[in-house]
Symmetry: C2
Subunit: 345 residues, 2 copies
Amino acid sequence: MKLTILFGGASFEHEISIVSAITLKEKLSGFDLSFIFCDQDHTFYLVEPSKMKAIIFSKGDYKKMPKLSLSSGAFIQKSMFSSVNHNNTVLNLIHGADGEDGTIASLLDFFSINYIGPRTDASVFSYDKRYTKWLCEAKGIKSVDYEILNKNEHKDTSIDYPFIIKPARLGSSIGVSIVRDDSQLDYALDTGFEYDNSLLVEPFIEGVKEYNLAGYMADDELYYSIVEEPQKEEFLDFEKKYMDFSRSEQVLKADITQELEDKLKVNFEKIYKGLFEGALIRCDFFVVNGEVLLNEINPIPGSMANYLFKDFKKSIESLSNSLPNNKKVKTTYDYIHSISSAKGK
Amino acid sequence: MKLTILFGGASFEHEISIVSAITLKEKLSGFDLSFIFCDQDHTFYLVEPSKMKAIIFSKGDYKKMPKLSLSSGAFIQKSMFSSVNHNNTVLNLIHGADGEDGTIASLLDFFSINYIGPRTDASVFSYDKRYTKWLCEAKGIKSVDYEILNKNEHKDTSIDYPFIIKPARLGSSIGVSIVRDDSQLDYALDTGFEYDNSLLVEPFIEGVKEYNLAGYMADDELYYSIVEEPQKEEFLDFEKKYMDFSRSEQVLKADITQELEDKLKVNFEKIYKGLFEGALIRCDFFVVNGEVLLNEINPIPGSMANYLFKDFKKSIESLSNSLPNNKKVKTTYDYIHSISSAKGK
């Protein structure tokens, strides 16, 4: 099948998206793949599959490649006397800002380009951790307690040490700190506020069990990946965590009871249904005293969590055949006509 | 000052946006205005101010005007041998879908165009009435009780007659019904589900007092309009309600106590702060037994609620001088460099 991988973006996870795209090139071999790179200035480039190497981007060599612009139904490559339409279904693989905050979703929707990825509203609820909490509350999904600290507000948190501080709108451990006592607080706040004006404070739960589950909807049915118990460190720093983005080997199923697996799936379904249609997402859960808590939603997981699926190619293919369709609104001028005729003009 | 009014859009409120734009042309006379029309196919046209007449759009004459495309920092008008950049601050005046659902916000953000209007996340929370309820719950703002009905779910509501049925994602009374007994229910549901797969059911409160308050933030301070008690009918049908969009005469301040006015402002502030910066919004409140309930948020009110402001031009000018700035993310390749050097390539 034909598929265009859209990657890059102006975000702190820019290079991680490049790694993800290179991984998918391998995992989706056999597909008729094309690659579109969005650079930090929001210019789109068509990248030949054979040029999909990290160094092409880090050295800026991509700038010699054909530029693309957005038009109704396609990315367009214009040359002096002709233009070529690239109108495959797009897989939005831009992690972090642009890709996961609703911007790319809106762009592709506006230009009527079919895509795999979260829609605008789903993006808003997963990108900003404050809104993920609101989603949980509205849908009856449990999550870790939290408080919000805003820059320039000088409010103290009432959560006891140790706690974790996270920027509201960044994934990937960027700007995240564990704070164990007063002496660590100022530095953690400064670090967090460097990245966002709002921070979440959550109790740091020692020895928590963590489980990841991915899935997508096709033909009105949810398809789940295996459940993974990710490799556990106190918490992963950016580099370690992002080795994840180049993962391509299928992992082993976590050794958990059927009851717990079912609980994780029930929670996943509550999150996904009615909001994430069109996307393959990964939900990261904590389990504390047998209770399932949502930790975070990855609406565009690293290398699409390929390593959690038994038949990843088939998953992408069936998802791409079940993408939501925006009903085209037919505009009318009835009101203007009726006003004009009432006015006699 | 220079300002570009962006109007039209592929929505049920398309023609209402045209009426709004024509009204603003009059209300902002003295400004150096330009007009960009988005038609139902999402093509942009530059419309000469002298051509800003409803009939130009209803007859399709706009199609003879210059087409514009989006580029970094500007709408671009290309001709055979040259191109002109239109890079004024934009006032997003596209009501309903496209303009109020986050799509236009994302587009303008992506292309680094300054604009007056709700950002993507603010749009998502005001466009979908279900998410407005979540916002209220999270921010401690009271609103009318509600239940959600989804297409194909066959759930009955537990709310007593009379109640109101509204599509989750349409403003302007479109698809809205008051249901007084069983005999009216099926028709109301059919009407609602024609426009949306999710409907809100709310108790219909007889004789409720309604008050509208608009405002915006400039230089970190909130500026409020007068409070209006809108002309009351049981509820306004589309045509009556939309006479509103051509309103240009300043209205009289509602005859309410200072205490109630303060309560309305406190609620407005809770809604606006941290979410609607950059926009001039109108909040419509109900007052029931002295208690203030949010009815709805209009993030792009008809003709920008000009009739509620003492000095509308000055309001638009001060807002446009206080627009949020997207910090540009500087992407790096540190991670790729470190991996490459570890691999020795």
